[in-house]
Amino acid sequence: GAGVSQSPSNKVTEKGKDVELRCDPISGHTALYWYRQSLGQGLEFLIYFQGNSAPDKSGLPSDRFSAERTGGSVSTLTIQRTQQEDSAVYLCASRRPGVASTGELFFGEGSRLTVL
C-alpha cells in the first residue's frame, strides 16, 4: 500500500494475556519506529529499527515488551502478560532511507489496545 499499515486497528484483551501488534511500513523505508500514545498524553518512544543495525530499545517500558522486524520490512510489537496501564494507541512510523536526522516520519493510524 501507499502508507504505513497497522493491524489490528482495535484490540480488546484481558489482563494477563499476550498481544501482538503488526506494522507494515512503506515499501523501501528502512527506518521503523514504534511509539505509544496514552489517552491525553503525548507520544512515548518505544523502539527504533534501522536496516540491519541493532535496534534502539531504550524506550521499551519493561521486559514484557519486545519487538522484531523480519526481513527489514514488517515489524511486530509483542506485549506479554498485559496490564491495564498498557492500554494506549500504539503508533508505527517509517522513514525513507538517506535522510536520517532530517527526514520526516510517516505514521500509520495506530492500533488501539484496551486491556480489561
Partner: protein, 115 residues
C-alpha cells in the same frame, strides 16, 4: 537528554483569526524540529520541519513556524485559522547526526477553531 514542551494543552481561536501554537525545546547541538498534526481517529501527519537556513519555514495547509535559537522555540503559526484546522498538534525535536535516532515529541496542543 532532549525534550519538548508545549505549554498549552488547548488553544481556542475564532475562524479567520491568527493561530499560534507554542513549542520550546532542549537538545544538545543544533536541533532538527518538526510539527505534526493529528486529526480525529487518524495517524499523525507531517506539517513542516526546520533543519537549517531561514528561520521561518513554510509547510502544508498554510502553516508556518519560526525557529528562534536564542529562545529555543519553534512556534507554529497560521495567519487565518479555519474550522478544519481543529486537531491535535505535536512539536518534535531530534539532535544532530550521531546524537541518537529518537524523535522526541511534546505533549500535544489541542486546537479548537470556532466558526
Amino acid at each position: 537528554a532532549q525534550s519538548v514542551a508545549q505549554p498549552e494543552d488547548q488553544v481556542n481561536v475564532a475562524e479567520g483569526n491568527p493561530l499560534t501554537v507554542k513549542c520550546t525545546y532542549s537538545v544538545s547541538g543544533n536541533p532538527y524540529l518538526f510539527w505534526y498534526v493529528q486529526y480525529p481517529n487518524r495517524g499523525l501527519q507531517f506539517l513542516l520541519k526546520y533543519i537549517t537556513g531561514d528561520n521561518l519555514v513554510k509547510g502544508s495547509y498554510g502553516f508556518e513556524a519560526e525557529f528562534n535559537k536564542s529562545q529555543t522555540s519553534f512556534h507554529l503559526k497560521k495567519p487565518s485559522a479555519l474550522v478544519s484546522d481543529s486537531a491535535l498538534y505535536f512539536c518534535a525535536v531530534r539532535g544532530p547526526e550521531g546524537a541518537g535516532n529518537k524523535l522526541t515529541f511534546g505533549g500535544g496542543t489541542r486546537v479548537l477553531v470556532k466558526p
